[in-house]
């Protein structure tokens, strides 16, 4: 194990939590990447996870990913639910033998003292029907609260992985609420209390939650979204034909988000729902296969 970062003191606000995790995982040899610049439901959709989990090349990376779940919008009225929130994701491929110890080191770094808390690994198998991906792992509990999702990837895009990636996903708002003892996400200190302009999470995002919820549930133009879905699906297929998996995969992400919005608008019946999920999965599968071919060529 590389030397864990000792430089940073225990985080006191949301942004220090992110900085601490970045420092820590950088010290573990991870690339520190930036968020993928498209709307997606979870950090797993980032090419740094979905595509890099496939193929024979080792890959250590960590990044924050803004995650959008239109159906989870609550107009800013629920203290724990957001339609836009942040995940911090570390992916280590192949998973090193001491990956759990490294993960526990990250808890220590953000101020969870294992001599005071009860950390538990509770069985939780992960599956993403839209990505055709699954893995085994745990929910990590700290005193009964789920603070991390830990998964050993077994399949992505319906393809069995060559090397198993260990994926560690922290729900940052939830973790911060726990660390900073806040009942509402909107009360989280975003920066330090002693900053020139101390701001809360609510100062930054409350209006966004209200407006985006109204958009997701009331105003999203469903005809346009159906069109976007169809366009993205078509474009994805065309790009797969051209052996351009990265642009093709962006179209897959677009289709997935359009579907999520349509789902939130309540215009997709239960019966149709399954077929949309399958259509996105087909796209993801095609992208993954094309990507894998490029990886094996290069290898």
């Amino acid at each position: 194990m590389s030397n864990p970062s000792a430089a940073r003191a225990k985080p006191t606000c949301f942004q220090e939590l992110i900085l601490t995790l970045q420092d820590y995982w950088a010290a573990q040899g991870c690339l520190i990447l930036q968020p993928f610049d498209m709307e997606m439901g979870a950090g797993t959709f980032h090419t740094a996870t979905t595509l890099r989990a496939l193929g024979p090349k080792p890959w250590y990376a960590a990044y924050v990913q803004p995650s959008r779940r239109p159906g989870d919008g609550r107009y800013g009225e629920n203290p724990m639910r957001l339609q836009h929130y942040y995940q911090f994701q570390a992916i280590l491929k192949p998973s090193p033998a001491d990956i759990l110890e490294r993960y526990l080191g990250s808890l220590q770094a953000i101020g969870i003292d294992t001599t005071l808390h009860d950390i538990r690994f509770v069985e939780d198998d992960w599956e993403s029907p839209t990505l055709g991906a699954w893995g085994l792992g745990w929910e990590v509990w700290c005193d009964g609260m789920e603070i991390t999702q830990f998964t050993y990837f077994q399949q992505v895009g319906g393809i069995e992985v060559d090397l198993v990636a260990g994926e560690i996903t922290y729900g940052l708002e939830r973790l911060a609420m726990y660390l900073f003892d806040k009942k509402s996400v909107y009360d989280l200190p975003f920066n330090r209390a002693d900053s020139d302009v101390p701001l809360t999470y609510g100062d930054v995002f409350l209006q966004n939650e209200r407006e985006q919820s109204a958009y997701n549930f009331e105003h999203a133009d469903t005809e346009m979204l159906f069109r976007h879905f169809a366009d993205a699906e078509k474009e994805c297929g065309r790009l797969v034909e051209k052996k351009l998996p990265l642009p093709a995969y962006e179209q897959c992400i677009k289709a997935s988000h359009a579907f999520n919005l349509l789902d939130a608008r309540g215009v997709i019946s239960v019966a149709e729902r399954q077929s949309y999920i399958l259509r996105v999965r087909e796209l993801a599968k095609a992208c993954c296969e094309t990507w894998l071919a490029t990886q094996k060529e290069a290898a």
Partner: protein
């Protein structure tokens, strides 16, 4: 005699898989030892969240040579057979085999000696075989491994007679082999580094010193005793729960029970909601007060000894519970602002099954069925109609959306809150019952009608789209539904013929099958159930069971046993004759001709049969099965005498023979009217 100690250390094994895995490991290693001709005295398996361990005592340190004889092909057999024999026996040529006359000709024999030697040499292969064969319900690869295990396998202790066995497991890929060793680790947080172990006793002691209780039974005892003690200190009673205890023992290597409190503000939320949050989601034990009601204390079992005595852990768990209960309380308050009736249209949005439409359509069917059932049982039609229409309305409440396991329960609370009649509310709450063989059955007339309608609709609906249970596959729990129907009818002694509700005979047969299974579990002889079921056509379960009970009781009496023997003799003779003469069955149907009855014994049987028939018919009509069986008792004497004195197959007088066969056949027919005695196993 020596001891084998095996430990497989891995990352955290799901609690639900642990016991089974320990048993499998023990079975596979023991089978492997037997296969290798290695004896042993006693094997014990253990499991914690991170390790499977096995100790086997009484293994001989050295294996004796074993010679074994193999018989080969006949001398002069084709070369192919000879070569096969040589290969199988490990011989180079026939010079190494010997000819022997077995009395049935000359054969080749090989005497193969399996070399004995140190047992330690044979054990690694046994262990390797067991590890490869161990069946995890779900397993995975890790790193660059090609091997699969439940979670990454970290180290292996394999000691025989205090010595490390030579062996290793190769995960494959670029990964280093995991060599057998004598080194393990203790508790993830309460112990640091590795330590060596010398034998099982040393292993258990060092684990304990490293904060690992190896034996799950001991962990369970620690949890239970600790939890009881904590409860005693605050005058509440622990709600013991074996399943939860088992699971929590599987989540902890060093269990530490701690007492927490529920915020008073949540105590007016229905207890079922609190219990789901605590027990199912957080694995807390709930407690009861002196009045038997849910108390505001819970027991959480940590896997750590915290330096603040657990204050932080308890506070954290209380906080998580508070978060969940705040949600639940929000839904509880919110949901009660809307009536169940006004939620009914929302059921159109919930698909029950792609081929069977929405929950709204299902409710329509349940309303209709429940109405028909109410007509037959005399339940209050208006109440049944209302309860049936509202029974699924809670599916669109916030609470059931968040806690699906509370369906029905919440509907009942909301109905009571709206001041709907109690029988209607109870029927909504009870309509999924019974959920299993040990669950309570509804007993109130309205609840019975809706609960039956719910299950009968599920059965007929899934049957109509060809979704019948097969083998171990029963995704829609139709067996449970059928059993529920049976229990509700039988336990409430409902006179409700099922046929009008089942539409297809196939489904009635499915019920008969379920009934047999259920009766067998209750200790009723399956042949007795068969004898009644195979009469066919009976769709009144209460009547059917009364007949089964009467028959079982009758067969338990001396008269019953003797009569069964007599029946068997009569039936055997008739059957044997029927075999010889295909047309006989038709000829001997019906009553014997009184004029052709010659001997007194024949006449006595005939008149006894008449008498029995006269007594049995009204008894059957009155469903007095005990009376009907009792009437048979009078048959025994005359039939015994008949077999003593009368020859049936009088070959020279065919008309007499035929008449006597008619008489025997009549015995069979008279008894078969009550039950098919041919199904009874002597």
């Amino acid at each position: 005699m020596a001891e084998l100690l095996l430990e497989l250390l891995s990352e955290e094994i799901p609690a639900r898989m642990q016991t089974r895995a320990a048993d499998d490991l023990k079975r596979l290693i023991c089978d492997g030892l037997k296969g290798a001709g290695i004896g042993f005295e006693k094997a014990q398996a253990f499991v914690t969240p991170r390790r499977l361990a096995l100790v086997i005592d009484g293994i001989p340190a050295v294996r004796d040579d074993v010679s074994e004889e193999k018989r080969g092909p006949r001398v002069g057999a084709p070369d192919q057979a000879v070569q096969g024999f040589l290969k199988g026996a490990g011989l180079a040529s026939l010079d190494q085999a010997e000819k022997r006359d077995t009395g049935k000709g000359e054969f080749w024999f090989a005497v193969v000696t399996k070399k004995g030697g140190p047992t330690a040499d044979a054990l690694p292969a046994v262990i390797d075989g067991a590890l490869k064969a161990l069946p995890w319900p779900k397993s995975m690869k890790w790193g660059s491994s090609t091997m699969q295990w439940v979670r990454p396998l970290q180290s292996i202790v394999a000691l025989f007679d205090g010595q490390v066995l030579k062996g290793e497991v190769s995960p494959g890929g670029a990964m280093a082999p995991i060599a057998f060793g004598d080194t393990t680790r203790g508790h993830r947080f309460l112990s640091k580094g590795t330590f060596e172990v010398a034998n099982f006793a040393d292993y258990v002691a060092k684990l304990r010193a490293a904060h690992v209780i190896l034996d799950a039974a001991e962990r369970k005892a620690i949890i239970l005793e600790g939890a009881r003690k904590l409860c005693g200190e605050v005058q509440v009673t622990l709600n013991e729960d074996e399943g939860l205890l088992e699971e929590v023992a599987g989540l902890t290597e060093w269990p530490v029970p701690m007492l927490g409190s529920i915020d008073e503000q949540f105590m007016d939320v229905p207890p079922e909601v609190l219990i789901v949050s605590m027990k199912v989601h957080l694995r807390f034990f709930t407690t009861s007060g002196a009045n038997g009601k849910l108390a505001n204390r819970f027991v959480v079992v940590a896997n750590n000894v915290a330096r603040d005595g657990g204050k932080t852990i308890v506070a954290g768990n209380e906080r998580v519970l508070r978060g969940r209960l705040a949600d639940a309380k929000f839904f509880w308050d919110q949901d009660r602002r809307t009536t169940l009736e006004s939620r009914v249209p929302g059921l159109k949005q919930i698909v029950f099954h792609a081929k069977l439409g929405t929950q709204a359509e299902r409710v329509e069917r349940i309303v209709r069925l429940a109405g028909e059932i109410a007509k037959a049982t005399g339940a209050d039609a208006a109440a049944v109609e209302l309860a049936a229409r509202l029974c699924k309305a809670d599916l669109v409440t916030g609470m059931v959306g968040e806690f699906p396991e509370l369906q029905g329960v919440m509907g009942r609370y909301y109905a009571l809150g709206e001041k709907l009649p109690a029988p209607v509310a109870d029927a909504i709450g009870d309509h999924y019952a019974p959920a299993g063989p040990n669950d309570r059955c509804p007993t109130a007339p309205v609840a019975i009608a809706v609960a039956l309608a719910d299950k009968l609709d599920a059965l007929t609906a899934f049957w109509s789209i060809g979704e019948k249970p097969t083998g171990s596959r029963d995704p829609f729990a139709l067996r449970r539904a059928a059993l529920g129907v049976i229990r509700i009818i039988v336990e409430n002694r409902l006179r409700l013929p099922l046929r009008p509700f089942l539409e297809v005979d196939d489904l009635l047969a499915f019920f008969a099958e379920r009934l047999k299974v259920q009766m067998r579990e209750k200790g009723v002889r399956h042949d007795v159930v068969d004898a009644v079921v195979s009469l066919g056509g009976e769709d009144d379960l209460v009547r059917l069971l009364a007949r089964v009970e009467a028959l079982q009781a009758f067969l338990g009496t001396e008269a019953g046993k003797n009569l069964l023997t007599a029946y068997g003799r009569a039936a055997n003779i008739v059957r044997a004759e029927e075999k010889k003469d295909k047309g006989l069955a038709a000829t001997i149907a019906g009553a014997p001709d009184a004029a052709l009855l010659e001997q007194a014994e024949e006449k006595a049987v005939a008149s006894a049969l008449d008498e029995v028939s006269r007594a049995v018919k009204p008894a059957l009509a009155a469903e007095d099965f005990v009376g009907a069986m009792a009437a048979f008792a009078g048959l025994r004497g005359p039939i015994d005498a008949l077999f003593d004195k009368v020859t049936v197959n009088v070959t020279d007088r065919p008309e007499i023979r035929l008449n006597r066969l008619k008489l025997l056949n009549q015995i069979r027919a008279t008894m078969d009217a009550v039950a098919d005695f041919s199904k009874i196993e002597g």
